[in-house]
Amino acid sequence: MIRAEWTKFRSVRAWVAGIVVAFAAILGLGVAGAYGISQDCMGRICPAPPTGPGGEAVRDKFSYVHQTLDGDGELTAHLAGFTGIITYPPPNHDAIVAGLVPWAKAGLMIKDGTKVGAAYAAVMMTGHNGVRMQNNFTEDRAGPSAASWLRISRQGDKIIGYASSDGAAWTPIETVVLKNIHKSVNIGFFVTSPSDITNEASPRGGTIVQARFTQATAVFDRIDRTGAWSLTKVGDTGEQTDWQKYHTPDGYTESNGRLTVTGSGDIAPAGNEGGPTIDFALTGVIVALIAVIIVGALYITGEFRRGLIRTTYAAMPARGRVLAAKAAVLGAVTFVPALLATAIAVPVASRVLRSHHVTLLPAAVGTQVRVIVGAALLLSLAAIFAYALGAALKRGVIAIALAVVLVVLPYLLATTSLLPPGAGRWLLRLTPAAGFAFQQVLPAYHQISLPYTPSDGYYPLGPWAGLGVLAAWAAALLGLAILRARRSDA
């Protein structure tokens, strides 16, 4: 009797220990990981990335040929030419070739000052994506694909973009509102061209992302505004490629009412190349995940092993309710400590980083809360998943092996590029590993040519949808377990 009680106590102590390990891992590894991260830019503290009007980190680098617009007004021009170069593209990487990358941009822009990150709206032709109207870095609308005439017009804080194929019949693309812009703003021509990006698998796992310099040149004529134009190389760092030094510098020329503008860079939200995001504080989650999976599996197999389940069922004959109630208890005892741990780890780790002068990409409060709650939900759902698997299979070791393999292995295969990105994305849609999607801090934008692979921290499903997939797995297995418990002998 003493022995039985002792064993019981010990087994309960074991799963309390599992929860404690999970809690400590999230906190300890999250904060320790933050201490490990260092960042320097040529031996100096890295400057914070510029942010747009929405608070997100942005890239804002282009050639801007502009004049002042006081109050309302408009600019119309014909895009007479749009060409560019790409340096050393694959497969041979041995030549500089003529061509435009898909999101090279040339067009008309109204911008609230020439400072990096200032509010703007622009109507433009792109390399492969037709006419677009974009504003404030994150917004993008498609216009007609075959237009060569562009017009941008301001009425108060409303900016309207138009396109036309003949300069006579105009199609409005969109009216956007730039809140609180000054009365006096800049209006003019811009050209920019983002890097040509490819990624390939590294022999050591992971992907090697290659970014190649590109440059675009646009010719504008039939310009309806007179007066002098001036050039601002927005976001220019002064660094130049050999192509810019010896061949074609960024800038503009003017002759016979024709403006030729050359630029490189991008106007877009920054990806995770801009620096670490708050998801680095989740280093310990994987260890915690293993711990709660063990707890979940032990929680049920302990019952089956020595026939304790018969006692339980004798005391509470509604078997389905018993199994569901146990799942609820498990969910609660894993969710609450995990939530507490992540809620402490994320701000503390961020503070550690800031004190080390490491720049975190800004994340909205909503995003931070989502990451914190998402981590706790992942742990709690994974524990229930392992528990349900154990209850359905009645074989603890197989249950735990399957639980770990189904939750962690797909994530590992997808994020370390052991698989091609396409296969990795499918794993992250269909397997319980979909739950990891809550970690994605930065949204993916269709108007940026980035690979957006799982290994870069971009998931095929949204955060709640991903956790939903995991929850569906857990619920399905719990249903199976209840069905089996009702049909078979204990």
Partner: protein, 239 residues
């Protein structure tokens, strides 16, 4: 002097709980020694210490004069039935005995002999996971008899046996003792021991409360049942 179990001054604690508190007794050859006491008296712990499964804090337990851990081919010196459920469910009863036989360098022929002896032959090739408690008890007895040992130690051997099985078990115990073996049997069913045991050790709270021959015990208290009730009064605290 092979057929003897000598337990002296065993002490053991599990954390704050005292399991053994100076347990001392001897089970001699040629008779069945009943080992009786309420739950928590330390019977099972004593048997586990004798088998070297648990380590005492102090004291010794000797089988035929040696510590169990020092025995070569221990199953040929002491056969024990401790936990009849201790089986891998997927393995057949016969294969369970087979690996035990191999562990003692015994021929497979011996497996069939003990299967025959315990009446397990018809079910020997079925998975042990499907055995009833009675079948498991018989398989446990078969395992204990495998090495034809001079000493046997059985923990609650009557548990789960049907009336026919109880009769069989009684006969088996008597004949084992008659062959000169030392047989230590723990039980809380007094009536079985009344008919079988020649010597009774009453345990309570980790030590021996009284040890005497069944005849002497019956003379003093009227029956083993009333001896049990008298002797264990106040010690039957569940811990």
């Amino acid at each position: 002097m092979d057929a003897i179990i000598e337990v002296s001054e065993l002490h053991k604690r599990f954390g704050p709980a005292v399991a053994l508190d100076g347990m001392t007794f001897t089970a001699g050859p040629g008779q069945v020694t009943g080992f009786v006491g309420p739950n928590g008296a330390g019977k099972s712990t004593t048997m586990r210490v004798i088998l070297g499964l648990d380590r005492p804090d102090s004291g010794t337990a000797l089988v035929g004069g040696s510590r169990y851990q020092d025995l070569r081919k221990p199953l040929t010196r002491l056969g024990a039935l401790i936990d009849p459920g201790a089986l891998q469910p997927g393995r057949s009863g016969r294969n369970h005995l087979l690996w035990l036989a191999h562990s003692q360098g015994l021929p497979p022929k011996r497996v069939d002999e003990v299967l025959e002896m315990t009446g397990m032959r018809p079910v020997a090739r079925r998975r042990a996971g499907g055995y009833s408690l009675g079948m498991r008890q018989r398989l446990g007895i078969a395992a204990a008899m495998l090495g034809d040992p001079p000493v046997l130690m059985l923990d609650e051997p009557f548990n789960g046996l049907d009336p026919e099985g109880i009769v069989w078990m009684r006969g088996l115990l008597r004949s084992l003792a008659a062959e000169g073996r030392a047989v230590l049997v723990s039980s809380h069913l007094m009536s079985e021991l009344q008919d079988v045991a020649g010597h009774v050790v009453f345990a309570g709270a980790g030590k021996v409360v009284e040890a005497a021959s069944t005849v002497a015990m019956t003379e003093r208290y009227g029956s083993l049942e009333s001896a049990y009730l008298t002797l264990t009064r106040g010690t039957g605290v569940l811990r």
